[in-house]
């Protein structure tokens, strides 16, 4: 069965005065129908750019998708006209943004923003759109939806706004939702609620979900599959269990070690990933993680490790993956 979304060797580059930034450099992954896929990585590793590339929302200039393919439900998204692409956005693929405080237009009422999407993409009547908006707000757990519709974003708290964003994303019954750090700007208590809500709704409605995050806790609980990105490339991918219990890439391992754990002693020191992420304009032919990697050998400077299968759907891009796996075993 073909996947819902297939990204194949996608390359997105930004042409700046300081040089060409290879923000996404040959990323490939797939999302099946109804599946939740997480994309993990630190700031600036290209995870958001990958998402924006799927919707072709990279601003040109300076950004451009230079190579690769994105197929969604059999359609080549990169070959669509702008007009056709507009019908995909919001209707087939919708997006939830990081900042609920600024992702809603402050001068339009909640109801107007909710119904606008439906009116733009479907032949729904205004009355039906209104009823559907009430229903959607109820679905995302907002009480008194009728009253909420006439209110403006500043009447709502951050968590409520993110719920409204989710309702908007769901309004045209999309097949895929891309959530770009949906909980980063929220309170910790609200984060769990929002994630739980997204998980339940996507499962009930059979919508595929791409969660972009740097929060490994989110990944462990909600993702079916995980792609770890570093410097514009996927360096490890597999099920959540693969990534958590059997990491084969030193970066994944380092990420796991840098998270505080409840089962450790309180005095235990965190082990952060040393150094800075690389400058994406000046990558050499070797592995980009090499300068920060404790497993680095001379081999790492000479060539780029490709993504190789470890077992089943678990793949990693490291020459020394066996040592990494051994270290992990020792630790646990």
């Amino acid at each position: 069965m073909a996947s819902l979304l297939e990204i194949d060797k996608l390359k997105t580059q930004f042409f700046t005065t300081a040089g060409v930034v290879k923000a996404v450099d040959g990323v490939s992954y797939t999302v099946d129908e109804g599946e939740t896929v997480a994309v993990v990585g630190e700031s600036g590793c290209g995870k958001s750019v990958t998402a924006m590339s799927i919707l072709r929302l990279i601003p040109w200039p300076p950004g451009k998708i230079t190579d690769g393919e994105i197929r969604f439900a059999g359609k080549d998204l990169l070959a669509l006209s702008e007009e056709e692409m507009r019908n995909v956005r919001g209707k087939d693929i919708s997006m939830i943004f990081q900042e609920p405080m600024t992702s809603l237009n402050p001068v339009l009422s909640i109801g107007m923003q909710l119904t606008e999407t439906m009116l733009a993409h479907t032949d729904i009547s205004e009355e039906d759109a209104h009823n559907r908006a009430v229903e959607l707000l109820g679905m995302v757990g907002i009480s008194e939806p009728e009253r909420r519709l006439v209110q403006y974003p500043h009447h709502l708290s951050g968590g409520m706004r993110q719920r409204v964003m989710i309702a908007m994303a769901l309004s045209c019954e999309p097949k895929l939702i891309i959530a770009d750090e949906p909980t980063t700007a929220l309170d910790v208590t609200i984060q769990a609620q929002i994630l739980e809500l997204m998980k339940n709704l996507t499962r009930d409605l059979g919508v595929a979900l791409i969660i972009i995050t740097h929060n490994l806790g989110v990944v462990a609980r909600y993702a079916d599959r995980v792609n770890v990105m570093y410097a514009g490339k996927i360096i490890e991918s597999g099920t959540a269990a693969d990534i958590y219990y059997r990491p084969h890439h030193p970066y994944t391992l380092a990420l796991l070690k840098s998270v505080p754990r409840m089962d450790q002693q309180r005095q235990a020191k965190l082990d952060p990933v040393e150094g800075q992420p690389p400058d994406l304009t000046m990558l050499d032919e070797g592995c980009a993680f090499r300068p920060r990697c404790r497993f680095a050998t001379t081999e790492c400077a000479e060539g780029l490790p490709s993504l190789e299968t470890v077992e089943g759907g678990h793949a990693t891009a490291c020459f020394n993956k066996d040592q990494v796996a051994a270290t992990m075993k020792e630790a646990s």
Partner: protein, 312 residues
């Protein structure tokens, strides 16, 4: 964990009823409060309202014919009584024996018509151009902004004169001549605001929802730059009235016998400054008062809409 709906309900309780609180005050109390906060703007607004009423009800307020010459009463002093009509020339008569008060009242019509038309058309076109320029960016922005630079390099009156010189005088052409220099001014200010708006995620969110460019500009960006737009609009009102008076004074604007304040000044100022000063004084007062009122009102609008500029 608590089900989402319950906690959401708890969230709402806290922030409920802000709207009801705001709605409790009747409109006249809110108006008085506004006037207290902005006394100058309120007085400007009162003058504008009086002028508007004058313009609308000019026929009912005046009894002299506005455009017919009456050579018997040429340059009649204020207070002279017209023997046939049994009416007093309250402000005197001009060099053609026409009642000054009547012509000032009708002149308000011309002034306000030109003022509002130019200001509204000019700033609205500027608004759309400015937002589009900021939204699209790239070469479109570059071209638009260079054209704006060129137009703005000319002083307002020079550009207006050039346009009238090309098109010829007359009310319609005056409107075009005054509107054209307003467009780039508004476009520039609106663009700088729109550039900031463009970077706020809801514009990206709108694009991610698949809205067309026109829709994003008109529905999502334009309402967010209403403040600079209204500020420019109100400041244009006074400018347009002054510009129309200047053009008419120079003989390039509204033509006789249409009553217009600038035109009345032109007829009176040079020849009769000493013998019949009232011919020039009253239209001059009308122009000053109108521009003053619009500027006060405009300042008030700016202070209200742009808290960063508030002096207190």
């Amino acid at each position: 964990m608590t089900p989402p709906s319950e906690t959401a309900a708890a969230e709402i309780e806290v922030e409920a009823d802000f709207e009801e609180l705001a709605e409790k005050k009747p409109w006249y109390i809110r108006t008085i409060e506004m006037a207290r906060q902005q006394p100058l703007a309120a007085s400007g607004f009162v003058i504008i309202i009086i002028m508007l009423l004058m313009a609308i009800f000019a026929d009912l307020l005046t009894f002299f014919p506005s455009e017919d010459n009456d050579l018997e009463y040429m340059l009649a002093e204020p207070g002279t009584i017209h023997s046939d009509l049994e009416l007093t020339f309250l402000l005197g008569a001009d060099q053609f024996g026409r009642d000054l008060l009547t012509r000032i009242v009708y002149g308000a019509r011309t002034a306000l018509f030109v003022g509002f038309t130019c200001a509204i058309i000019g700033s609205t076109l500027g608004l759309i151009l400015g937002v589009a320029s900021a939204y699209f960016g790239g070469w479109f922005d570059l071209v638009v902004q260079r054209v704006v630079d060129v137009v703005m390099a000319f002083p307002l009156i020079i550009l207006a004169l050039a346009v009238v010189a090309t098109l010829g005088p007359g009310t319609q052409n005056v409107i075009i001549a005054i509107t054209i220099p307003f467009i780039p001014q508004c476009a520039r200010v609106v663009r700088s605001n729109a550039l900031a708006i463009r970077e706020i995620p809801y514009v990206d969110a709108a694009r991610a929802l698949g809205f067309s460019n026109a829709r994003i500009i008109m529905r999502h960006m334009v309402p967010n730059v209403m403040a600079p737009y209204l500020i420019m609009l109100t400041s244009f009102l006074g400018q347009a009235i002054l510009l129309e008076a200047s053009l008419s004074y120079l003989g390039m604007g509204v033509q006789e016998p249409t009553p217009a304040w600038g035109l009345m000044l032109q007829g009176g100022a040079e020849e009769f400054a000493e013998s019949a000063p009232w011919v020039a004084i009253w239209p001059g007062v009308a122009i000053s008062l109108a521009v003053f009122a619009f500027n006060l009102f405009g300042d008030g609008v700016r202070d209200t809409l742009d808290p960063k500029l508030r002096s207190r």
